[in-house]
Symmetry: none
Subunit: 245 residues, 2 copies
């Protein structure tokens, strides 16, 4: 049977060191609609006064964060556990990108959890052993230096793509003006260019006119934009008339 909509993944910070980084991770999560954070043995205890300011308003994530003693307890209710690491591990497990993991999590039934290791050292082999798959961000092999919040934001961003929030604000562009409006503008310009002796030598006139027509058709200007351009042309023609009059 078709599963109900998949639940958003749980972000599990394993032995995080700095409260500031916990706050930044919370902000990164909430930016992309993730709200459930779990902390495994945070080094400086919990709550941590440095976390709030760094969260820049994502306090709801911190307020709801739950603390566990072990990774196993933190993910006890999650059938799908990913271990995030940028380094190769002596563990033989499937390796997926954030994009692939996001796809799996969206189609999975049951909760997914993503483990992130301590800032300095990353996840221990024992933590990784607990996961079903390894999540690796493909990174510049000569400069791999993702911090905790950056790793969290890339994973959250990929997950959000399949969600409702993941659409840019639609800007409805005005449709191109009807052809006759475009023709009016082209005729106006053409008339001015004849006055200005632009078409020289005369036998090149058809080719040059075609070039201009192509060029002025390319933009797909709206009716408003065509009116603006006609205003520009009128101003230029008017200035000319005034000066020569």
């Amino acid at each position: 049977m078709t599963a109900e909509a998949s639940l958003p993944p749980v972000i599990v910070l394993v032995r995080p060191q700095l409260g500031e980084n916990i706050g930044k991770a919370a902000r990164a999560m909430l930016n992309f609609g993730l709200t459930e954070m779990r902390l495994v043995a945070p080094r400086d205890g919990w709550p941590n006064p440095a976390a709030g300011p760094a969260a820049s308003g994502a306090d709801v994530v911190l307020a709801d964060a739950r603390v566990f003693d072990t990774v196993a307890e933190a993910v006890a209710d999650c059938p799908h556990v990913y271990a995030t690491t940028v380094r190769k591990r002596g563990v033989t497990k499937p390796v997926v990108t954030p994009e692939q993991a996001a796809g799996q999590m969206r189609s999975a039934s049951g909760r997914s959890a993503i483990l992130f290791g301590p800032e300095r050292s990353g996840l221990e082999t024992d933590d990784v052993a607990l996961a079903r798959e390894i999540l690796t961000v493909p990174i510049n092999p000569e400069f791999g230096s993702l911090n905790l919040a950056q790793a969290v934001i890339l994973v959250a961003y990929e997950w959000s793509k399949g969600e409702a929030l993941a659409s840019p604000p639609e800007v409805v562009l005005d449709p191109p003006a009807p052809q006759e409006e475009l023709e009016g503008m082209i005729a106006q310009l053409d008339h001015m260019l004849v006055q200005a002796n632009f078409f020289f030598p005369p036998d090149r006139k058809p080719t040059t006119q075609r070039t201009l027509r192509t060029l002025l058709t390319k933009p797909g200007w709206s009716s408003q934009e065509v009116r603006t351009m006609r205003g520009v042309l009128s101003a230029l023609a008017g200035a000319k008339a005034k000066r020569s009059g």
Copy 2:
């Protein structure tokens, strides 16, 4: 035949405030293989001693960063300019996600530039007017709080994804003219319109100029087309001069 591989995009930080954030942006770039940073009028000058430590080893990006006075100068050699913004703007331009922009940049001929605004305020309307498209990260509508380095890393990450498998564009169109050629044309028209008293009343001048800029940026005219348009303008100006002379 197949086109050469597209060049990596240029990251342009417009009026960045804190050196620390410039350093973090450099780190985010290098994580995903981007190395060319340009700075427009950094608030505290350049170099900035706070940038290095925050770059966590991405010093090569900072060392090669170039500084410009204006956005137009910073993107003068780039035919494809994206303005990054999380807010809706009173500017009617196409809006793309980081993923869509990455696809476009990979298949584009010519250099792409991505503008990022100051930390506090984001890009000004005038900065956005200069871009061909708006790049928006789809974000939690109830909590949109991306910092500079986070915005940079998401864009860099998306670009890095398809790097190995970039495929050439199906139809080879002439690429849009580099920004400086477009600027030259706009300046020429602007000068003519000042002569013609087009900007009236004077307090509407900035708005009208922005409208014209958007209108003339929309077509994506090639270098040849921009030259043709400049010939048209010169002819109209010349006719006027001749008549009034």
